[in-house]
């Protein structure tokens, strides 16, 4: 059984003031195995953000199901959904989403505090995690005092500290310079090597070239997928570029 199975996902938005309906996802099916590193690519408006929101249980699909370890997350009750998200999913956002009223340390602790963990356990978890991400010297600082790359590593730490089944990353390199992007992608590589499943939505060919598999979405459907196999990052980059060109020129 796959860790994550997406079956016939469909999402239709209807605007409030007219009967006009917008189909964001028409029929999406794919699965993610444990320990995989999957990138989802697509142009703006292709439906990739909608897909991620549904995977994150922030949004509900019109039809279809999303199975995490065989459990349909679209049918989780409203009351349990926050707890479910906290336990099973880790999030990394484009604009970091760190809270400026918390120190770096407290930002990372936030999901654990919400799960009512005891302080010594939280501390131990952080002590294990911080050196891996190179943020052990930042812990007492505040978000406004650190750089964008550092902020994103803190966000990754916050996502990892709960040991989630899947890390969901939404354009994680979108707000970073090239050096920080490299650092972040290396970190994703490392944690993936340690067995962490990652699903990343991205525009960036470079970011996608680090992934083990790339899904291409167009007009609300999975249009194509590429496996990295034994390719180097550079070869993978080339393959992705070719596919994107094909997508853009409209080949079918």
């Amino acid at each position: 059984m796959s860790l994550l199975e997406v079956k016939n996902l469909k999402k239709v938005y209807s605007t409030r003031f007219s009967n006009q309906q917008v189909q964001a996802l028409s029929n999406v099916s794919f699965s993610v195995e444990e320990g995989e590193y999957v990138a989802i690519m697509g142009e703006s408006g292709s439906g990739k953000t909608t897909l991620l929101n549904i995977l994150a249980s922030l949004d509900k699909p019109t039809s279809g199901e999303v199975l995490l370890n065989g459990k349909d997350i679209t049918r989780i009750k409203e009351k349990e959904i926050s707890q479910f998200r906290r336990k099973n999913l880790g999030f990394v956002f484009q604009d970091f989403n760190l809270l400026d009223t918390f120190s770096i340390k407290d930002n990372i602790f936030l999901p654990l505090v919400l799960s009512k963990e005891a302080y010594p356990i939280m501390k131990q978890k952080l002590d294990n995690l911080a050196p891996k991400l190179g943020i052990e010297k930042l812990l007492e600082k505040y978000p406004y005092e650190v750089s964008g790359g550092q902020k994103q590593r803190v966000a990754v730490a916050r996502a990892l500290i709960t040991h989630p089944q899947i890390i969901l990353a939404d354009e994680p390199t979108g707000a970073l310079d090239s050096k920080s992007t490299d650092q972040l992608l290396d970190i994703f590589d490392t944690i993936n090597d340690e067995g962490q499943t990652i699903v990343m939505v991205t525009h960036s060919t470079k970011a996608a070239s680090y992934a083990k598999r790339v899904l291409f979405i167009r007009d609300g459907e999975v249009f194509h997928q590429l496996y990295k196999g034994n390719q180097t990052n550079e070869e993978m980059y080339q393959s992705i570029s070719d596919t994107l060109t094909l997508l853009a020129t409209g080949g079918k």
Binding site: L58, E78, K79, I81, S82, Q83, R85, R86, F91, F93, N97, L98, L99, D100, T101, F102, S103, D106, F109, L110, P111, V113, L114, S115, K116, E117, A118, Y119, M122, Y142, P143, Y144, E145, R158
Partner: protein
């Protein structure tokens, strides 16, 4: 066409910023209205002509005028600074789009003119509408029946315009300076730059603790009413300083300590609240302290003026025992007014009462001396010129006078006396200075004591066997015992329903006699009726002012709260969104919001009630001068004020929390 560009832009701006400007316009119009009301009342000819007591009233109202002006300046500036903070981004945008600062200033000037016009026109219009109502309320409270009414006061309109236009213009200048000092990028970022976590300011915290402690200490330790009035203001200033210091520095110190306590801090409930409150306190401490002070003012004003007003009857009873009192201070040889003249006068007064069908139960005249003493033991007093708290007034009269006045037939041996007291049960003997007397009898006769019902002023009446003993005992100079006597006539009506008429009749008669005969002009007339009238006027207008300013302050407190929550709500939107993304449930968000708003709202009120509790003793002390009905009335009035304020406050809290949650959830 260019000439109309700025005014039009100004109007659009005000319309677009309605959420901010509508409450602002309402506030300023309301403030203007309050000024118009109190000013027009204080100069109203109807009010001035009312009575002798009207002077006190117009003075009290005049005081109110100053309070309203000072308050308006502070408050309007405060609200204005809120608005300009919120609009900085917009101004920056104009800057970037190519408007020079000069143009922005012209635009803002037009806005100021528009808001000033609306505030003044609205305020004065409302003022004219409500002035009649206010006038009626005032008249009702001070117990007048008058045909005079209140119209539109040109004087008040002119004064209102003259006072408020400069206030609005100066706040415009303040805005201009703010805009001038900032550059567009700074303006555009506005509040977005990450704020530093506030540091604990220990010095300020300590100053706060000391000043507040000092204020409380003064309030608790003062015993003497005279010192209380003087020190009250010192205590008030200390408490105000302490409140501001503790809200700004003390709150952060406490929150930081909570944060340092890992077991407490890293709990779901406390985690978000504590960390956010630290930032919020930094921004809002001054506002909260102001609200706290305002609430304290409301409580003090309402409770004290209500208890003054409700104690009028009681106080009047204690100031004067009898319905009507006529007092002559006899001249040096105690010859004038002569017995004969007095006898004629008394006969005429009785005659007048009978002629006018005024029934009376007592008609007593007696001649006595008054000396001041202090007491060492219960049955011992010594002559003194100390008029402090322990002073005891001794009223001395001779046996002949006593037997005559009270139609009695007592006999006294040389060292015997008859006694009466309002504060202790006379014992076997009584010592005045070095003279010891055996107490033959303890009596209670009407008006033998000057203030039988008053507990605060201790009195003893002593009936001596003869004049010689009296003068020898009570004179400060025993070698030349010569004393000035007082002749007092006391009349008690059967009921007070004819009091007004009786007063008039008696007053006319006395004045007539004094003019015609050789009666001394050193006389004083006092009546229960006129005292009650005077007190009603004075305390009634104070009560009116208490309600008036209470409403004004309450409005201020509510508005500060509204503006705070409004700006907080927008700032917190993003924060709560992130928390939900990270896995905070809607329920938890709601809880966090509730506890935060709860602390925010009720902290000032709770501190205000604590202030009130500490001030209590001092206020009771000060009031022992003004109200003689004791602290019970004041306790009840305070309790009622607290309950009423809490109810109004809670309603505003519920509304605000709901709006806030709506903004955040968006």
């Amino acid at each position: 066409m260019k000439t109309f560009f700025y005014p039009r832009l100004a109007l659009t701006n005000i319309k677009k910023n309605g959420k901010v400007y509508i409450p602002y316009l309402l506030t300023s119009a309301f403030t203007v209205m309050m000024f118009y009301l109190i000013y027009s009342l204080s100069v109203n000819s109807g009010v001035l002509k009312m009575d002798a007591g009207a002077q006190t009233m117009s003075m009290i109202l005049g005081l109110g005028v100053y309070v309203v002006i000072i308050f308006s300046v502070i408050f309007l500036f405060y609200i204005n600074s809120f608005i300009i903070k919120r609009r900085k981004k917009e101004v920056a945008l104009y800057n970037i789009l190519g408007m020079e600062k000069k143009h922005v200033m012209i635009m803002m000037f037009c806005e100021t003119i528009v808001t000033t016009l609306i505030s003044l026109a609205g305020g004065i219009l409302l003022g004219v509408l409500f002035s009649k109502l206010m006038f009626l309320l005032l008249v009702k409270l001070v117990g007048f029946s008058t045909a005079i009414s209140i119209g539109i006061s040109t004087d008040a309109i002119v004064k209102t315009i003259l006072i408020y236009t400069p206030i609005f213009m100066v706040s415009y200048l303040f805005n201009v300076i703010q805009i001038k000092l900032a550059n567009p990028i700074e303006l555009l970022r506005g509040g977005q730059t990450g704020e530093k976590e506030p540091k604990t300011k220990w010095l300020l915290t300590i100053i706060g603790v000391l000043t507040l402690g000092g204020g409380y200490f003064i309030a608790q330790t003062i015993e003497d009413p005279a010192t209380a009035i003087l020190l009250f203001f010192i205590a008030v200033i200390l408490v105000i300083i302490g409140t501001y210091c503790l809200f700004t520095a003390g709150s952060i110190a406490i929150l930081k300590m909570l944060k340092a306590n890992k077991h407490f801090y890293y709990q779901t409930k406390h985690f978000t609240s504590v960390s956010q409150l630290i930032y919020r306190m930094k921004q809002n401490a001054v506002g909260l302290a102001s609200i706290c002070i305002l609430c304290t003012c409301i409580l003090v004003m309402l409770s004290s003026t209500v208890s003054l007003y409700s104690g009028v009857q009681d106080t009047a009873n204690k100031i004067l025992d009898e319905s009507f009192q006529l007092k002559f201070y006899l001249d040096d040889d105690n010859a004038y007014p002569s017995d004969k003249d007095l006898k004629v006068l008394y006969a005429k007064l009785e005659q007048q009462l009978n002629r006018n069908d005024i029934e009376y139960t007592d008609f007593v005249n007696r001649r006595y001396v008054i000396v001041n003493t202090i007491s060492n033991k219960a049955n011992q007093v010594a002559l003194s010129d100390n008029y402090g708290k322990d002073a005891i007034t001794v009223i001395g009269l001779t046996l002949d006078e006593y037997n005559r006045a009270y139609h009695d037939n007592q006999k006294l041996a040389k060292n015997e006396i008859i006694m009466s007291s309002n504060y202790f049960q006379p014992q076997k003997d009584f010592q005045i200075g070095k003279h010891s007397f055996a107490v033959k009898e303890a009596v209670h006769k009407p008006f033998l004591l000057e203030h039988e019902k008053q507990v605060a002023g201790k009195e003893v009446a002593v009936v001596f066997p003869d004049t010689q003993t009296l003068e020898k005992t009570l004179s400060v100079t025993p070698e030349d015992p010569h004393m000035n006597y007082i002749e007092t006539l006391s009349i008690q009506y059967k009921d007070e329903s004819h009091a007004e008429k009786a007063n008039e009749v008696l007053k006319d008669c006395v004045e007539n006699e004094v003019r015609q005969s050789e009666l001394s002009s050193h006389y004083y007339m006092e009546s229960h009726y006129s005292i009650e009238n005077m007190l009603t006027q004075m305390y009634g207008s104070l009560f009116f002012l208490g309600i008036f300013l209470g409403v004004l302050f309450l409005m201020a407190a509510i508005l500060i709260m509204y503006y705070k929550q409004l700006s907080e709500g927008y700032e917190d939107q993003k924060r709560f969104e992130i928390m939900q993304n990270v896995g905070m449930s809607k329920k938890e968000v709601k809880q966090t919001i509730r506890s935060q708003v709860l602390i925010f709202f009720f902290l000032p009120l709770i501190v205000a009630v604590i202030h009130m509790a500490f001030a209590f003793k001092m206020i009771v002390n000060m009031f022992s001068f003004l109200v003689l009905s004791g602290p019970e009335v004041f306790i009840i009035c305070t309790a009622i004020s607290v309950v009423v304020l809490t109810i109004i406050y809670s309603i505003v809290y519920i509304l605000t929390a709901r709006t806030y949650y709506k903004i955040v959830r968006h």
